[in-house]
């Protein structure tokens, strides 16, 4: 199958290893991956902060870029949630029936990474080996928007050597929330303190999620506390084939 990768703007810029891992996993499973260079951003930051005009322009750009793509894989639950929940409303609000039709045509082709693997491709064992203790932050958008359920967990449990530990109070928000993390930095920091406490309680070496935005928040706090726990996107665990933790790109993710 030819799978078109929407890397998302912040993964592209800050977490390229996640994209490389997605490519590695999908190619290992025998699929071809394409990357359409014109792609940029889904518009989530603008939309959630109240800038609907900019968000709509980014939506239209995304629709143009992925025109004709059969299956679009996005390693970011919150970006998928943006597209599924808000694109239809934005299109409807535009009053443009052609735009509505294009959004309608896009939605069934959009898959979050773990959703693509388990739901669309029917795979839980991706041939990975990662002999470490791992906990999973389920993330608000994975849980309450995409209803990913146990898909990420089933993928992790099929990884050789991986010991899965449940995260206490997993359904609680990490406090990222996009511009919320800056506009309400105090509350956001208090929220991530709770999340860090829960992560440390598990004794896990690695905290993973289907969202690097949450991991940037959790990892940023873990790093500041010198906690010795790494945050890695689930794709990076599923791409791993050896005993070692994958080496981070310089600066990507908190120090170990």
């Amino acid at each position: 199958m030819l799978i078109s990768l929407f890397i998302t703007c912040y993964n592209d810029t800050l977490f390229p290893d996640t994209g490389k891992a997605v490519v590695a996993v999908l190619e290992r499973l025998g699929h071809r991956v394409e990357f359409r260079r014109e792609q940029t951003c889904c518009g989530q930051m603008h939309y959630n902060t109240g800038y609907a005009g900019e968000a709509r322009r980014l939506m239209e750009h995304l629709l143009r870029v992925f025109d004709g793509a059969e299956v679009i894989c996005m390693p970011s639950a919150s970006c998928v949630a943006m597209i599924r929940e808000h694109y239809p409303k934005m299109a409807a609000a535009s009053g443009d029936p052609a735009l509505v039709a294009r959004v309608d045509a896009l939605l069934p082709r959009v898959f979050e990474f773990t959703e693509l693997l388990v739901g669309r491709l029917g795979v839980t064992d991706v041939g990975a080996s990662f002999p470490h203790t791992v906990t999973l932050h389920p993330s608000c958008h994975s849980l309450r928007s995409l209803h990913l359920g146990d898909k990420p967990r089933r993928l992790l449990e099929a990884v050789r050597g991986l010991e899965f530990v449940e995260l206490p109070e997993g359904d609680q928000c990490c406090g990222f929330g996009g511009t919320f993390a800056l506009k309400n930095a105090g509350v956001s920091s208090a929220m991530v303190s709770d999340k860090v406490r829960c992560v440390l309680e598990t004794g896990a070496e690695v905290c993973t999620a289907a969202d690097n935005s949450c991991l940037m928040q959790i990892g940023g706090a873990l790093s500041r506390h010198g906690a010795g726990v790494r945050c890695l996107h689930i794709a990076e665990l599923l791409a791993a084939t050896g005993p070692a933790c994958p080496e981070p790109v310089e600066g990507a993710g908190p120090a170990r």
């Binding site: 902060t49 900019e54 800056l182 208090a190």
Partner: protein, 474 residues
């Protein structure tokens, strides 16, 4: 004038939250109380196999009612009047307060026992009563604690949730002259009972809010846990009830839906211990005179907005507060309004036509926990975003934010621009990079790096890596 308590003068949410976050006792109390209620709610909701159907039914009943609110309000007025009640219409807070004061003065009375009426906090009735030389006594236990402590409510259902029992004991010791009082719950309850019984038996004017007003019977419904409300609405000779116009339900049959949803969502009870429903007056039974004041105070403005109209579906259960990770950190006072938490963040600014409380729509990480627990399915995250859009459209967003969003919009408009922006950012970050991390950045990112590290931008973006890989393959 339209007013939501004194929310118009409240500090913005981030500043108020800062103060709340520094109050260790408050955070412990709020955390403890919300966790207890959340767990109770989850247990009793979990035992209902038609919970989702009930939520959907409630949402549709509310939607239908709001679309025909004019007709249902008129029907309520007609039926309530026919049953011997007096119905008054108040455009705003001041008008409502004036009507209430005139009724009480008309009877030559000066004391009032009050129960279950957040709406009167909205109009600041107690302040107006005191200014008119009248004395209100709150009789709901939590409201009494707030009144005696000269405090403010911090939760929609459990207004004194930020107080623990030792603090309550101290308030009672001070105000009831009970130096030996312990902080054991039975002793605290006995003290409150003795204090309140005297008022119940003596004061001839009762004042209440309403959970529901039923159009087809003209009835009013109040649900509660203590029985103090029952005494307030049955013992006095004169009863005045203040009702927001959104509290109307078409038929008494609709209560079947709401009386299942409300107690389970609010306090984790299968049924409220006291459900009082009364219709007009009945000679020889209960109050001899009954007045209903129907309050607008900004509600029709909310009604006119077809995206955020469902804000008015709220039945004030407080489930969204207990579920909200922001509320659970700050408690209710930080919201600067009697309506706190996620529902307060959308209701308070809207009632004031978005003229005040404009920091509230941003007091959410949009995690969706509020929507998940809402018994009437108010899509609070969607309305928060809608209100943020209104703020941006009106040009009320901070200049720095507008510039940043414009710049980001420009940079993300095409791949060439994005690549240029990435190169620029990579070059700009070098003075700040330490061991692959950014630990101190200038504003606005300072807000991030004060408590969290930021990963430094890697030397190669994904798109650069992809391009070099493709090149290598050719």
């Amino acid at each position: 004038m339209i007013r939501v308590g004194d929310a118009a003068a409240a500090p913005d949410f981030p500043s108020a939250a800062k103060e709340a976050l520094a109050n260790v006792q408050l955070r412990r109390n709020v955390r403890h109380a919300t966790t207890v209620i959340r767990n109770k709610r989850a247990a009793v909701v979990g035992e209902m196999d038609d919970w989702e159907a009930l939520r959907e039914a409630a949402h549709r009943i509310k939607d239908h009612t709001l679309r025909h609110l004019d007709a249902y309000l008129a029907q309520f007025e007609e039926r309530c009047t026919r049953a011997g009640g007096h119905v008054h219409w108040a455009r705003d807070a001041d008008e409502a307060n004036r009507i209430v004061i005139d009724i009480i003065r008309g009877h030559g009375e000066s004391e009032i026992i009050k129960v279950k009426t957040m709406t009167s906090d909205e109009t600041r009735l107690n302040v107006a009563l005191a200014a008119a030389g009248l004395s209100p006594y709150e009789t709901d236990l939590a409201d009494l604690i707030i009144q005696l402590g000269m405090d403010r409510p911090s939760h929609i259902v459990v207004p004194a949730l930020h107080r623990n029992r030792t603090e309550i004991r101290d308030i009672f010791r001070r105000t009831m002259q009970l130096e030996q009082l312990t902080d054991e719950p039975p002793d605290l309850a006995a003290a409150a009972r003795q204090f309140l019984r005297e008022k119940f038996l003596r004061v001839p004017v009762g004042f209440s809010g309403a959970n529901f007003a039923v159009a087809d019977t003209g009835s009013v419904c109040v649900v509660e846990s203590e029985g103090n409300g029952r005494m307030c609405v049955t013992l006095p000779r004169l009863l005045v009830t203040l009702v927001g116009i959104e509290k109307i339900v078409p038929s008494v049959r609709d209560l079947e839906v709401f009386l299942q949803l409300l107690p389970r969502s609010a306090t984790g009870e299968r049924m409220n211990p006291y459900n009082s429903i009364w219709t007009g007056v009945t000679p020889g039974d209960g109050p001899e005179e009954f007045h209903v004041v129907l309050l607008d105070n900004g509600r029709t403005t909310v009604l006119a907005d077809d995206v955020s109209r469902e804000t008015l579906d709220c039945i004030r259960c407080g489930a969204c507060l207990n579920a909200c990770p922001v509320y659970r950190q700050t408690g209710g006072h930080a919201y600067g309004s009697i309506y706190s938490g996620p529902i307060g963040a959308i209701l308070t600014p809207q009632l004031q036509s978005m003229e005040h409380s404009r920091s509230l729509p941003y007091a959410s990480s949009l995690c969706g926990a509020c929507y998940e627990v809402c018994p009437v399915k108010i899509n609070i995250p969607e309305i928060l975003i809608h209100l943020r859009q209104k703020i941006v459209e009106r040009g009320d967003a901070p200049v720095g934010e507008r510039v940043a969003m414009k710049a980001a919009g420009f940079a993300l408009a095409g791949a060439g621009r994005l690549e240029a922006a990435q190169a620029l950012a990579r070059a700009a970050q070098w003075p700040f990079v330490r061991d692959g991390r950014l630990e101190h950045l200038p504003p606005p990112l300072k807000a991030w790096t004060e408590t969290r590290d930021l990963p430094a931008m890697p030397a190669q973006s994904f798109r650069d890596w992809w391009a070099s890989r493709e090149k290598g393959r050719q």
